[in-house]
């Protein structure tokens, strides 16, 4: 579905991604993991065309994102749903209006159905009661879930989630994982998810990509990850701190 080939990305002169290559297949749950600040959010923004690569290619259904013109790009972006790390809700609208926004804007939805559809999406993320609240009246985790509801508003083929479960309680986070699994099996939705949650990874991930210092250190299935001897990956799964920190603690 999406192929990333030798992607290099800069912010100004600061190189964030350095030759990243991998492939996401249709209907799978693809999780991206890695340390804080290693470029995961940047990679997602590249994959939905919000940032331009310095070099390398990103192919979506066989088309290079860089070669798309404006119209093609926005048509492409309508078939994907994005939930950003900081939710990206529109502050001037209620939660319900936020979810209804793509339905109204992109057309194709029967206007008398929008209300029910909004309620359905909100109840999927457990926010049915918050429909008429403003985003500024929500807690951090609620805002996150409202962002998810907006991302899946139009049954997209491909969904990008940036740390969906950060700030959620374990029960909610588990519920979210199950929802993702169900959407995948029901609608063959493809998910690309950035996460730090070991439990979600174990439960839902089909394949995992690990980034470190802007490079891919591991890409493969859960079983391969369990068998892999890549140090960074082992450290991640065993929740082991970096050696220098451990040593300093001992010397204290």
């Amino acid at each position: 579905m999406i192929t990333v080939d030798k992607l290099v990305s800069h912010y100004g002169t600061h190189k964030v991604l350095d030759g990243v290559s991998f492939e996401v297949k249709k209907g799978e749950i693809f999780m991206i993991i890695g340390g804080s600040g290693c470029g995961k959010s940047t990679l997602l923004k590249q994959m939905c065309g919000l940032l331009k690569p310095t070099s390398g290619h990103i192919m979506y259904r066989g088309r290079d994102l860089a070669a798309m013109d404006e119209e093609e790009m926005s048509a492409m972006q309508r078939t994907i749903g994005i939930a950003f790390q900081s939710s990206g809700l529109f502050n001037s609208m209620t939660v319900g209006e936020n979810v209804a926004m793509p339905m109204r804007e992109f057309g194709g939805v029967d206007p008398q159905l929008i209300d029910e559809l909004v309620r359905y999406k909100l109840s999927l993320v457990g926010l049915a009661h918050a429909q008429h609240l403003m985003p500024s009246e929500l807690s951090g985790g609620m805002r996150k879930r409202a962002g998810l509801a907006r991302a899946i508003a139009l049954d997209p083929d491909l969904v990008y989630f940036d740390e969906p479960s950060a700030g959620l309680d374990p029960i909610m986070a588990a519920g979210l994982d199950h929802m993702i699994l169900k959407l995948k099996s029901l609608l063959q939705t493809t998910f690309v998810i950035v996460t730090h949650e070991l439990d979600s990874i174990r439960l839902a991930a089909d394949r995992i990509l690990m980034l470190d210092l802007g490079e891919v250190v591991f890409c493969g299935t859960l079983e391969e990850a369990a068998a892999s001897q890549v140090d960074r990956l082992r450290q991640f799964f065993d929740r082991r701190a970096d050696d220098f920190i451990v040593q300093r603690n001992i010397s204290l």
Binding site: N91, S92, L113, D115, E116, Y120, I152, L186
Partner: protein, 361 residues
């Protein structure tokens, strides 16, 4: 006693759902005592289909009859299960719009609240500006210098230009009016007195409130929205000390200076018209201006600028701290701050006009 059984189409998507709902409305009769959807033919459902099912259940709720389904295949169970929570509850009520008395009460309360907040901000600021530095408690000199640069130095050009052009305009206007009396030389007096007493101060204050008043409100509002103010309070630092005081002191220093520059530019603007267009010799215009220059007039104008400075900063900060509701709130509060700023400038000016022209003079 009868059931209304609606057979759902093979593919329950947006169109299939619409057909289903239509069939439901057609089949429904008053004698029906329950509504059942028959999924025996249905192979796939998407979210739109789900929304139509919710709509059907809403219909059943309005008619006050039980709603259920039957005949679903294994593959649909998961989907219907996910749908269940949104079927049980009726949609949440939107907030009711209040009646006239309620709105009046809310207005009075909000004015009272706002006044209270404003007064407490002022008290805090007075403490941190006038008292705390002498108790040896922190004064942020670097922040003060930054603000002086931002509010003052960078506003010099626009303030001078505006006053210069205004001087030119007033000279044109008044020279035309007195042309037939042959007393155009007195335009020099008019310009000087006008700028010293009113125009330089008010014009400069308007320019500064549009520049810095808006900037203060937007900055503090954004900080409030992003919980930076809470972070500051959480560290035990008073926002009045950390943010308001440097701005207030800077403005108190800067605005009189800018108004002085404004006075000079305005008089220059008038002189340019008098000398180059009306054709007076430079030293004549110069002498006339000096003759009319009285310290009293200048003092009147300068005294006002201190009050203008306080109004601009305090209103900007007050509105910044009061922001609610994210980015939209920031825009609203910034607008409000500038409007209140300019209105308060005029109010202060009126008070001084009454004092100077009727009570003292």
């Amino acid at each position: 006693m009868s059931e209304c059984i609606v057979l759902c189409p093979e593919i329950l998507d947006q169109d299939g759902g619409a057909a289903m709902y239509k069939a439901l409305l057609k089949q429904w009769s008053r004698r029906n005592t329950s509504l059942i959807l028959d999924f025996s033919a249905t192979e796939s459902i998407d979210s739109f289909g789900g929304a139509w099912i919710i709509k059907a259940s809403g219909f059943a709720r309005r008619k006050d009859v039980p709603f259920s389904w039957k005949g679903q295949r294994e593959s649909l169970c998961d989907f219907l299960e996910m749908l269940a929570p949104s079927l049980q509850s009726s949609p949440p009520e939107a907030a009711r719009s209040p009646g006239p008395l309620e709105s009046l009460g809310a207005l009075i309360l909000s004015v009272k609240d706002e006044t209270g907040e404003f007064i407490s901000l002022c008290v805090d600021t007075i403490y941190w500006t006038l008292i705390a530095p002498f108790e040896g408690r922190g004064f942020r000199f670097n922040a003060f210098m930054d603000e002086v640069h931002e509010m003052g130095v960078r506003a010099v050009r626009i303030v001078c230009l505006m006053n210069f052009l205004l001087g030119l305009i007033i000279a044109m206007l008044s020279a035309k009016q007195v042309e037939s009396f042959g007393i155009q030389i007195y335009v020099a007096n008019l310009i000087f007195i006008g700028f010293a007493r009113e125009l330089a101060a008010i014009m400069t204050a308007v320019v500064v409130s549009a520049r810095s008043g808006a900037a203060i409100a937007a900055e503090l509002a954004t900080m409030t929205v992003q919980e930076e103010i809470d972070a500051l309070r959480g560290m035990g630092i008073s926002p009045a000390q950390y943010l308001v005081t440097p701005k207030l002191l800077a403005m108190l220093v800067v605005l009189p200076c800018l108004a002085t520059l404004g006075l000079i530019s305005g008089v220059l603007g008038g002189a340019v018209w008098g000398i180059f267009v009306l054709g007076f010799r430079p030293f004549m215009w110069y002498n006339q201006t000096l003759e009319s220059a009285a310290m009293d007039d200048i003092m009147q104008g300068m005294l006002k600028t201190f009050f203008f400075a306080i109004a601009i900063v305090m209103i900007g900060c007050h509105n910044g701290f009061r922001v609610k509701g994210g980015s939209r709130g920031v825009g609203l509060m910034t607008t409000r701050a500038v409007v209140m700023d300019i209105f308060s400038l005029i109010c202060i000016d009126i008070v001084f006009a009454v004092i100077f022209y009727y009570i003292l003079g």
